[in-house]
Amino acid sequence: MEYVIQQGLNALSFGAEYALLALGLAIVFSIMGLVNFAHGEIIAVGGYTMVAFAALAIGNPVIVMAGAVIAAMLASLTLERVAFRPVRKADPTTGLLTAFGVSIVLQNVFLMFVSPRPIAVTSLYFLDWPIEIAGIRLASLQVFETLTTIVVIVALMLFLRRTVLGLAVRAASLDFEMVRLTGIKANRVFAMAFLISGLLAGLACIFIMARRGSVDPHLGFDPVLKAFVACVVGGFGSLPGAVLGGFLLGAVEVAMLVMLPQSLGGMTDAFVFMIVALILIWRPDGILSPAIEKGDKL
């Protein structure tokens, strides 16, 4: 029983990380239909910022964390300006491919100017300590990450439903030009979405780095691949969908790791993706997307 609870909590914290990443993808997608595969590299920017702080012998964890988050936000904003603005009006596929391109460029920039090998960053180890409650072992990081994800979800919901800028963010996803025709500075809307996305990447970066303790050019690729899947499963562009998809994926992944017999252990990822594919075949637009009948409209 304890074991089951233990693995359940593990699934929850896996899910929280995926949800945090998936939200970063979903906010950008919901506004401009862009699947930002370069999200992972924005996380890596945060990681390399920590390396830079370490090199400058700045160890104050608050500065390091803030620095990483700010760097990720700036990186996200910069990418919006440089790479994504030209494809703003394009279809999702164009955006997806652009993001792939950006991701490849950034990975190679890290490789060229820093190193292809992992670089250790130990300044955030202090965030991680064991907590034991009634025989259940938790890492403090898991708790922090889950809490952060919850706070982020609530804050985002409020922003998108209650503020004009939030409405504009949602409206821009369908008709960017028309948003401009209401007088809202569209560039601000996009900047805001990318800023939020960068913030989420920065937060995720803190947790990933605190856990891994090192950064390499591929730091973000795998987690973001999973987050991408989470988004699609939940219903792309739907923020609640991203959250649901994230937690679902966490649960599936832990279940596969734990339940597959050792002889099939190497197939964990295959089974995770297979389940995802089955979900999509069952609900082609993701679980939380409303069942829309295509008529003349939409």
Binding site: E293, K294, G295, D296, K297
Partner: protein
């Protein structure tokens, strides 16, 4: 030809079409009018198979259509245009029409002579090699109609074909559609808000309101029907068109 039997469609809480029954005969032009949101487009979506009715059945020449998808129904001879244009913008004008011709050919009822004539009638003859997205709105509407005709359909449904056209063009369109009626002999269902257009074109008119049929008859009968005046035309309808 086309028989609708007690068709209803529910969207969540909205009953967009409610217990509609009517028939359209071959060669007949049937007008479908009604206030905005009356369910006209929804009805066409139901007939063309893009939406599934909540209840009711329909048939084409005695052949039950229920359960057949949009493509299958088109192949059986139901063609339509769209209120919001659905042009294949990366194909040329000619290829847009070819998409439909291919379907007609594979079903063995292509009529290439009639289509060639339709190009002229709808002012597309010189434009076949243009990319479709270079046409103006009015021509795009014409393209949609010709594309539907290329299917050589038994039932042709036009959703606001005159929208965005001026009176002159509307008249031309009415003339062209008259030609369609004689040349193709299909059962035609036309939605439009341009009463003059509807009145000159249609043999019979069905009026929808809030999803339900509130009147049915010849143009004359309709314009004097008090229910229709209340729900749709308003008092001073002679000025409307």
């Amino acid at each position: 030809m086309l028989v609708l039997n007690d068709i209803s469609k529910q969207f969540g809480g909205v009953r967009a079409v409610s217990n509609v029954s009517f028939e359209v005969a071959a060669g007949e032009v049937r007008g479908l009018i009604g206030p905005n949101g009356a369910g006209k487009t929804t009805l066409i979506n139901l007939i063309s198979g893009l939406l599934t009715p909540t209840s009711g059945t329909m048939s084409l020449e005695g052949d039950i259509l229920d359960g057949a998808g949009a493509a299958a129904r088109t192949r059986k001879g139901i063609a339509r245009t769209f209120q919001n244009l659905r042009i294949f913008e990366n194909l040329s004008v000619g290829q847009n029409i070819e998409v439909a011709q291919i379907t007609a050919r594979s079903e063995g009822h292509e009529d290439s002579a009639a289509i060639a004539e339709a190009f002229e009638r709808f002012d597309l003859a010189g434009r076949l090699r243009m990319p479709a997205n270079a046409l103006s709105y009015g021509h795009l509407r014409r393209l949609e109609i010709v594309r539907a005709l290329a299917l050589n359909p038994k039932v042709l449904m036009l959703d606001e074909p005159a929208a965005g056209m001026n009176e002159q063009e509307t008249e031309e369109l009415a003339g062209a559609l008259d030609w369609v009626k004689t040349r193709f002999g299909c059962a035609t269902l036309v939605i439009d808000h341009d009463l003059k257009f509807i009145m000159t074109l249609c043999d019979r008119i069905t009026v929808l309101n809030m999803g339900a049929v509130i009147a049915e008859g010849t143009p004359r009968e309709i314009t004097t029907n008090q229910d229709v005046i209340d729900a749709y035309l308003g008092e001073d309808h002679s000025n409307a068109a």
